[in-house]
Amino acid sequence: MDWQIKGFTMKTNQPQIAEVYRAYLVERQVEPGVGCPAPEDLVQFATQGANRKARARIMEHVSNCPDCALVLQSILRLSGEIDKLTGKAEAFQRCPQDEVLGKRERVRLIPGRRAAVAILAGMIGLTIITLSVIRISDRPVIRGTARPLIQLLSPKQGTTYPAEDIKFKWEAVPKAARYTVELFNRSLEKVWRSGPVSNAGTELPAEARGIIFEGETYFWRVTVVLEDGAELISKLAEFSIRK
């Protein structure tokens, strides 16, 4: 076996790790439901969001509680279905719900006194830094070179293409040894990965076209390996396939 040749004694994969992790959480649970947020709170959180503190508290709990994770997943799926059926595209609607559900609490948009002091201090700090940079920039000193950014040219962010016209293009990076293109679906699961590409462009091969669907949204990015072995990864760009 390949993994045994490399000197490993055992092997594992993501489904096994997930199974072990869930079993570990269940074993750790003293009594189900104790210390869990009420389902009402989970519904409110999933459909209307929460402030930073409450969000952190709920997510900390959910990541360690398989029961609440299941409830939250169900709420998200049901909410998405209702949105689809009632013709709302976005799953996370806020304002109309507040009115109908009679919620008086809203996220405070006006910063408190502490926040105002913090903003003021930040602005003063920023001014000092800007002035320092201006003074330093007068000196003709070169302090190394910045890593180049990868510019994705096509498919551009937010555009729609017919499946047969998809050609991935990006700006060539100096000293690039090879590039790799990765394609992700709406759930950000990898659906295709190119082999090593030497030019700043590649096409989606015919056999990979079977895995992309009309009307769906996809994300893509490019990874470049430089001659010195360093890796650079582009930002993700989103595009849709025309129906």
Binding site: W3, F8, T9, M10, K11, T12, N13, Q16, I17, A18, V20, Y21, R22, A23, E31, P32, G33, V34, C36, A38, P39, E40, V43, F45, A46, R55, M59, V62, S63, P66, D67, A69, L70, V71, L72, Q73, S74, I75, L76, R77, L78, E81, I82, D83, L85, T86, G87, K88, A91, Q93, P96, Q97, E99, V100, L101, R186, S187, L188, I233, L236
Partner: protein, 173 residues
């Protein structure tokens, strides 16, 4: 009841049943059709009170469906609490008798150690992914950008792979 609302509820029924099944909806629970009937009655009452017009239909359907859903989740939690007492007793009795192979236990221990060694957002995203959330859901729930979630996930997996490899375990993609 207007036809549009009726068709929405009809289409929603299998999803509601399937979600309750995922949560451990048992044969002792009231029939799924009863739940749907309860939702129908509540919406019908609302239509009557509002002279046949619900202004924010999406929000109202959600409110009613989630209210019924919450009642069921609370009921299931109460049931499970009662069952868990009996199960714990059984587990304690069987603890000495269980015949777990040594290598499985070692593997489990190493996996849990490697997972808990991850820190911050990388740990959070990996834990949620293992619990079955999609990356898009994780991004929405944590109020992170999709790129940030994606980067943390792939970095977390890389660290996890590295941690497992140091302990002699090969992570298969």
């Amino acid at each position: 009841m207007p036809e549009s609302i009726e068709s929405i509820l009809e289409a929603l029924a299998p999803h509601l049943r399937s979600e309750l099944n995922c949560l451990g909806y048992s044969a002792h629970s009231p029939d799924g059709d009863d739940l749907l009937q309860e939702i129908r009655i509540r919406i019908w009452k609302a239509l009557k009170d509002r002279e046949g017009e619900i202004q924010y239909l999406n929000a109202y359907v959600k409110k009613v469906v989630f209210s019924v859903f919450i009642n069921e989740v609370n009921r299931l939690r109460r049931e499970r609490q009662l069952i868990s007492v009996a199960e714990n007793r059984q587990r304690l009795e069987n603890e000495g008798k269980e015949d777990c192979s040594g290598s499985d236990e070692v593997l489990k221990k190493i996996i849990v150690e490697s997972l808990t060694a991850l820190r911050g957002a990388k740990r959070r995203v990996i834990e949620l992914r293992l619990e079955g959330f999609t990356l898009a859901e994780i991004a929405q729930l944590n109020d992170w950008s999709i790129s940030m979630t994606c980067n943390n996930y792939y970095r977390g997996i890389k660290e996890l792979k590295h941690g497992l490899a140091n302990k002699g375990i090969y992570y298969e993609d």
